[in-house]
Symmetry: C2
Subunit: 216 residues, 2 copies
């Protein structure tokens, strides 16, 4: 059993202000917080598991798992030896800054350099709420298709980095990587794009170096 | 270019009542409306395309495509010779009954026996709003993983039928079909489950027969 925190909607109306405060407080503690967003089943937990395995010798990592229900993800992360807390969102389709703060306060952050918030699986609502993270990262998996930037433009517009996951399955799907990158760059010319496979390790170095470069 | 209707949030607060009225009005017109829900990229449009191709000789079909942006799906459906209208949800993460009514009113329903609402790609919010459809169908694709019922229980609980899509890719992913069905049946013992591949045609007959049996 992973530690589970039940959350309700934040009472405050000033999410942007709360987010700025959380971002600043975490920076003071030396904790770089990355908000990971995607559809359900795009491979967030598998990606994080591989990232933790690759980086844990040199970097102290913690994960805040947000889901409507279950603790399957937090258990997987704990099995890797990383700190993990599961938060339940009381049916809510996204995390906000107040919820993120309560989740982070439920973790022992002593010595933690890198924290991931695995947001609720949803390509729409999480893009509308600043969680207080220092970087917003989204995941698009190859099986989802190269047209997703056309249909869910907000998330592609606000992300600092895009991971294109499950690249090892590319030959089984109709997915045009160049076309997808074109769609994304039209929405967000500064976005960092990392095509990766957590299964084969393809592209993981570039993603992990980006994380290391951003640590405080 | 497909016909595009821009929608705003419905002004009424009585979504359940609106949904009942729409359901009754459509039944009177002989139109069986099926609400299709899933994550982004689970294969809703591909599934619908195959279903239309298989059934169009015997059944008059129309599709209401709901997205935040773009008209790529409606164009694909029109290319098959079916009626299609694209609605844009003004950033909203789901369709409600008022929005569905306005979309349906934008279509020529004369002679239509079967209408699909392709809801916004989202495994959470659409489950909370009755659209006025006669049946709610959800799609889970093999690449998304067999643990999704644990994490998004509401949608699996309220659906009348579940299509497990992209079965042709099963050998490339860790997906335990029996385990998945167990998870789903614990939430919803009466749900109809159809494992299918729109690519190979596997399982499509059972799904299409279920649709035919439900026509008015």
């Amino acid at each position: 059993m992973a530690r589970v925190i039940e959350l309700n909607k934040s009472v405050t109306e000033s999410n942007d202000k709360d987010a700025e405060e959380l971002r600043s407080d975490l920076k003071e503690q030396g904790v770089f917080l990355v908000n990971i967003m995607s559809s359900p089943g795009s491979g967030k937990t598998t990606l994080l598991s591989r990232t933790i395995s690759d980086m844990k010798e040199t970097t102290n990592i913690a994960v805040l798992e947000a889901d409507i229900d279950s603790d399957v993800d937090a258990v997987k992360i704990e099995d890797l030896g990383a700190k993990a807390v599961q938060v339940h969102t009381d049916g809510m389709c996204h995390m906000d800054a107040g919820m993120t703060r309560r989740g982070m306060e439920g973790m022992d952050l002593d010595g933690v350099q890198l924290a991931f918030l695995e947001n609720v699986g949803n390509l729409i609502c999480p893009a509308e709420f600043d969680t207080g993270a220092h970087k917003n990262v989204m995941i698009l998996s190859v099986p989802e298709g190269d047209d997703k930037p056309l249909k869910y433009p907000l998330m592609f517009s606000m992300a600092d980095a895009l991971l294109i996951t499950k690249m090892d399955t590319k030959e089984y799907f109709t997915f045009d990587l160049d076309l997808c990158i074109d769609h994304v760059k039209k929405l967000n010319k500064d976005i960092q794009i990392f095509p990766v496979s957590a299964k084969t390790g393809e592209g993981m170095d570039a993603w992990e170096n980006w994380l290391r470069d951003n640590l405080f």
